[in-house]
Amino acid sequence: MKQYETVIGLEVHVELATKTKIFCSCSTAFGGAPNTHTCPVCTGMPGSLPVLNKQVVEYAMAVGLATNCTITQYNKFDRKNYFYPDNPQNYQISQLYLPICRNGRVEIETEAGKKSIGIHEIHMEEDAGKLIHDEWENCSLVDYNRSGVPLIEIVSEPDMCSADEVIAYLEKLRLIIQYLGASDCKLQEGSMRVDVNLSVMEVGAKEFGTRTEMKNLNSFKAIARAIENERQRQIELLEEGKSVTQETRRWDDNKAYSYAMRSKEDAQDYRYFPEPDLVPVVIDDEWLAAVKSKEPEFRDAKKNRYINDYNLPEYDADIITLYKKLADIFEKTTDICKLPKKVSNWLIGETMKLLKEKAMEPDEITFSPENFAKVILLVENGTINGVIAKDVFKIVFEENIDPDKYVEKKGLKMNNDEVGLKKIVEEVIAANPQSVEDYHNGKDKAIGFLVGQTMKAAKGKANPGIVNKILKELL
C-alpha cells in the first residue's frame, strides 16, 4: 500500500459571551422558554433593522490579537442568502469580503513536536434559531431565542496532519478564548462547534487531494474518531482506484460512521453582497490599543509565573492553568493563605475528584477563595485534621459555607487530649490482638489499621500525630 499524508483544516464557530445579541438588545441567556428572548429584529420582522453590538467587535478583535492576526481596521458586514426556517430573514449577516482578522497563527505542541498553525481569517456573524421537530404532532417548530446570538468563525489554514494536532490546536484556541472571557467554548453545549476539512494525498505529492467537510462533532473524542475514520475512508477509495467526492458529511458518533449530506454540485450560491443596513465598522488605532491593553495573562505566561514565583511543580502549574477558573481560584486563594503548594494540592486532588464525581466543569465551581482558604488554614494551624478537612471541603464545594463556623458548630476540632486518646488506643489494642501480633512480626501495615481504628473510635477528630505517638509507645 502507498503511504499517505493527511491534510486537515478547521472551521471553528464560537458563541461569544456577550449579554445581548449581535444586532439587537435581546438577552443571549441560554434556556429561556421558546421565543421569549426575541424582538422584531431577531425574528426578521418586516421593517426591522440591525444595530451592531460593539462588544462583539471587541471580543473578535481580542481573539484576533491573541492569535497573532492582522486586524482589519475597515470592516464590513455582508449578507449570505439562503432559505431555511431557522434563519428568519432568510439571509445571515456575516463577513465575506472584509473579515475582522486575517493571517494569524497559534503555536501547538504534540508528541510529534512543536508546530505553528496558520489562521486564515476570523469573521463575525449571527447564529440562527433552532428547529424543533415534533414527531407527535408531525410538525416543526422554530425557537428564535438563539437567532442573533453572536458568533465568530475561526478558519484555519490546512496546516494540521493528525487528530493529535487538531486537538492541540482546539485546546489552544479554547484556552485563549476562555482566558479572554470571550466564550466558555463548550463543545457539548454548542458554544464551540468544529467542522473538519480533511483530504489525503500520497506522501510527497505536490497537490492536495479532494477534501470533505465533516460536521456534527460534539466532543474531542468524536473529532479524533471522525478524523481517523474519514482518513481511512478516503485512503480506501483511492486504493480501490476511486476518487473522493467533494462533499459535506455528517458524523454519527454512536455508529462511528459518517454519511454524505450534500455534494459540491448542489452547493448553494449564497449571493453574498455588502449588508446595506449596517455602516462600515472602523477600528481606529486608539480602539485597537485599548483592546490590546486589556489583554489578560495567557496560559503559558501564567504557567511560567506559577513555577517561578510560587515554586509550583510544572505538573501542578500545567493542570491548574488548563482552566482559567482554576487559575483564578488558585491565585485568589493563595493571596489569602500564602500557601501555594497546599492550594494546588487541594485543587488537583479534592477539587478535581469532586468535579469528576459530579460530572461538573471547572467553570461551574461556586465556592469562594475566602472559604477555600479557610479550610486550608484550619488544617495548617492544627484546628482540624486532614480527614475532617476533606469532609469540610466537600461541604464548602457544594454549598460554599463558612468553614470556621461549620467546624465550630459541628464540633469538628481536632482532639489533642493525650489522656483521653491513650484510653481509646488501649481499647483498640485490646480489641485487635492479631494486628498487634502482626506489628510485632514486622508487618508495618498493621499500625495503619490500628490508627484507623483509633480514629474511627475518636469520631475522626483525633490528632493523628498524637495517636501515632501513643500507639508506638504502647506497642
Binding site: 422584531p40 425574528t43 426578521g44 420582522m45 418586516p46 421593517g47 426591522s48 433593522l49 440591525p50 444595530v51 451592531l52 449578507r79 442568502n81 432559505f83 426556517p85 428568519p88 430573514q89 432568510n90 439571509y91 422554530v142 450560491d269 449571493r271 453574498y272 453582497f273 455588502p274 446595506p276 443596513d277 449596517l278 455602516v279
Partner: protein, 489 residues
C-alpha cells in the same frame, strides 16, 4: 369653510385657535374618502374608529396644552409600507395581505408625537416596485386630475389622496423617485430628504441603501413642516445620521437672490416631452427673474443612472424580500408538500409579476460569476455619479430639472413595456444613488390638463437650499387644484 381645501399647516392653525376641532377635521377627511375614494382608490385601509378615538385623545392633549405643534390634530395618510401597530400593513401585496405589525415605524411615531391622526394607509406599487401604482395587488389608484391616467408611483396612493383632498398630507417613500414622480403626476409637492435624515426603522425595505421616507403635501410650507416633524436621529437605524440641525421651516423664505442654480443639459435632450420642457425651463426663468443665477452645465453619467439603479435596487430587494416565505407571518399557500414546495408556492402565489421580475433580476446580478460584472460595477457607477454631483455642487446650490419626462401616462400603458417604464425614472434615480435631497413641486399644467412637476436637487444635508428655491418659485405661481378636489367646495 371647506376643511379639506386647507393645507396641513392652515388646518393646524385653525385647530390651535379652536376654529375647527380635531374631530371635525377627521370627520371631514373620512367623509371626503367616503365620497371620492371609490373613484380614486388611494386607500387600502381606512381607520375610521381608531381615527375618531385618536381625534378625541389628541383634542384633549391640545386643550391641556400638551400638544401645540403645527401638525397637532391634522389627519395624515401613511403609505402602506410603513409599519403601524395594530393596523394592517400590506405593501399592497398579497403576501402581506394579513400582516399586522407589532410595532410602529419611527417616522410615524414621530408624527404621532407631533399629534397627527392616522386616517388610513395608502395604496402603492407592490413593495414600492413600479412607477404607476398599477403593480398593487389590492387595487388600481387613479389620477384625480384625470381618472384615465395613473397617479404615478410607487407612492401613488399618498399623492392621489393629497391631490384629491382626501387627507391634508401623507407620508411616502422614495427609492428611485417614488415620492417625486407621483407628486409631479398628481400636482402635489413631495420631498425626498438626504439619505439618513428620516429613520428607516419600520419602513419595509425595498432597496435599503436608497430608501427614504418623505412628506407629500399641497405646498412647500407643509412639506418643510412635516419633514421637520419626521426627521430624527434614530439609534435603531444604523444608517441614520446625526444632523447638525433639523430646522427646515426657517428656509421658507421668498428670496433667491444670488442662489446659484445649475441646469444639466442632458436633462433636456431627447425623450423629454416638449410641454414638460417648456414648463420646467419657464420655472428656471421665474427664479432667474427673482434674482437667482441660472446656468446650464454638463452633468456626467446621466445615462448610467438607470442601469446602476435597477441593478442595486433589485439586488437589495431580492435579499430584503427573502423573509416573506410563509413561515412566520403573511400569506402561506394552502396546500403544499414539504418545506421547499411551501416556500415555492407561497412566494409564487404571494408576489406579483413586477416583484418577481426584480427578485429574479436581483438574484441574477448577485449570483456567483456575475457579481463583479453587474453588482460591483453598479456600485462603482454609484460612487462616480456621486462624484459628478459633488463637482456640480461646488458650483451650484441647486440643480433644476424635470421630475419626470412626461405627464402621467394612461392606465394600462406602462406595464406592457417595463424597460420604457424604467427609463421614465431618469431624472429621479440618480438623486437616490447619490443620497441627495430632492423636491418635486407643480410648475404647470399640460394641454391635456395634467400637472407638470419641477424637480430641485440639493447637496447632501442642504434641504434648505431647495426648500428656499421651491418656496420662492411657489410664491410666483398659483396653486392649481384638480376638479375632483374643487367639486366639494
Amino acid at each position: 369653510m371647506n376643511i379639506m381645501s386647507l393645507t396641513a399647516v392652515e388646518l393646524g392653525k385653525k385647530i390651535k385657535q379652536k376654529e375647527i376641532s380635531v374631530e371635525e377635521a377627521v370627520i371631514a377627511a373620512l367623509d371626503s374618502i367616503e365620497a371620492k375614494d371609490e373613484a380614486v382608490g388611494s386607500f387600502v385601509t381606512v381607520c375610521r374608529d381608531k381615527a375618531m378615538e385618536d381625534a378625541r385623545e389628541i383634542q384633549g392633549k391640545i386643550d391641556r396644552g400638551e400638544l401645540d405643534g403645527p401638525l397637532a390634530g391634522v389627519p395624515v395618510a401613511i403609505k402602506d409600507n410603513m409599519c403601524t401597530e395594530g393596523i394592517l400593513t400590506t405593501c399592497s401585496s398579497k403576501i402581506l395581505s394579513n400582516f399586522n405589525p407589532a410595532y410602529t415605524a419611527e417616522a410615524v411615531l414621530n408624527l404621532q408625537k407631533a399629534g397627527a391622526v392616522i386616517i388610513g394607509k395608502t395604496n402603492m406599487d407592490e413593495f414600492a416596485m413600479g412607477s404607476t401604482t398599477e403593480t398593487s395587488a389590492i387595487k388600481i389608484t387613479k389620477n384625480p386630475w384625470n381618472q384615465e391616467h395613473v397617479p404615478g408611483g410607487s407612492s401613488g396612493g399618498s399623492c392621489a389622496a393629497v391631490a384629491a383632498e382626501e387627507c391634508h398630507y401623507a407620508l411616502g417613500s422614495d427609492t428611485g423617485g417614488s415620492i417625486r414622480q407621483p407628486s409631479s403626476f398628481c400636482g402635489v409637492t413631495g420631498i425626498k430628504p438626504t439619505y439618513g435624515t428620516v429613520s428607516r426603522y419600520g419602513l419595509i425595505a425595498y432597496g435599503s441603501s436608497l430608501d427614504q421616507i418623505g412628506p407629500v403635501a399641497k405646498d412647500v410650507t407643509d412639506c418643510a413642516t412635516i419633514l421637520e416633524a419626521i426627521s430624527s436621529y434614530d439609534a435603531k437605524d444604523s444608517t441614520s445620521v446625526k444632523r447638525e440641525n433639523y430646522d427646515f421651516t426657517s428656509a421658507l423664505v421668498d428670496d433667491v437672490k444670488g442662489l446659484k442654480i445649475g441646469i444639466p443639459k442632458a436633462y433636456f435632450e431627447d425623450g423629454l416631452d416638449s410641454e414638460v420642457k417648456a414648463a420646467v425651463l419657464n420655472a428656471a426663468k421665474v427664479l432667474e427673474k427673482k434674482g437667482a443665477i441660472v446656468e446650464e452645465f454638463d452633468l456626467g453619467l446621466v445615462n448610467f443612472a438607470i442601469p446602476a439603479y435597477y441593478v442595486i435596487a433589485s439586488a437589495e430587494a431580492s435579499s430584503n424580500l427573502a423573509r416573506f416565505d410563509g413561515v412566520k407571518y403573511g400569506y402561506r399557500t394552502s396546500e403544499y408538500e414539504g418545506l421547499h414546495n411551501m416556500y415555492k408556492k407561497s412566494r409564487s402565489e404571494g408576489f406579483g409579476p413586477e416583484v418577481k421580475r426584480r427578485i429574479m433580476l436581483g438574484s441574477f446580478v448577485l449570483s456567483s460569476g456575475y457579481y463583479d460584472a453587474y453588482y460591483l460595477k453598479a456600485l462603482k457607477t454609484k460612487a462616480l455619479i456621486k462624484k459628478e454631483f459633488d463637482k456640480a455642487f461646488e458650483k451650484y446650490d441647486v440643480i433644476l430639472g424635470p421630475a419626470a419626462p412626461t405627464t402621467a401616462p394612461k392606465l394600462g400603458e406602462s406595464l406592457k413595456d417595463p424597460i420604457k417604464m424604467y427609463l421614465g425614472d431618469i431624472y429621479t434615480v440618480s438623486v437616490n444613488l447619490a443620497g441627495l435631497p430632492g423636491i418635486s413641486l407643480p410648475c404647470g399644467v399640460s394641454s391635456q390638463g395634467l400637472p407638470i412637476g419641477l424637480q430641485l436637487i440639493g447637496d447632501c444635508f442642504k434641504e434648505n437650499n431647495i426648500i428656499r428655491a421651491a418656496y420662492s418659485f411657489e410664491k410666483s405661481m398659483t396653486y392649481n387644484r384638480c376638479d375632483m378636489a374643487k367639486q366639494f367646495d
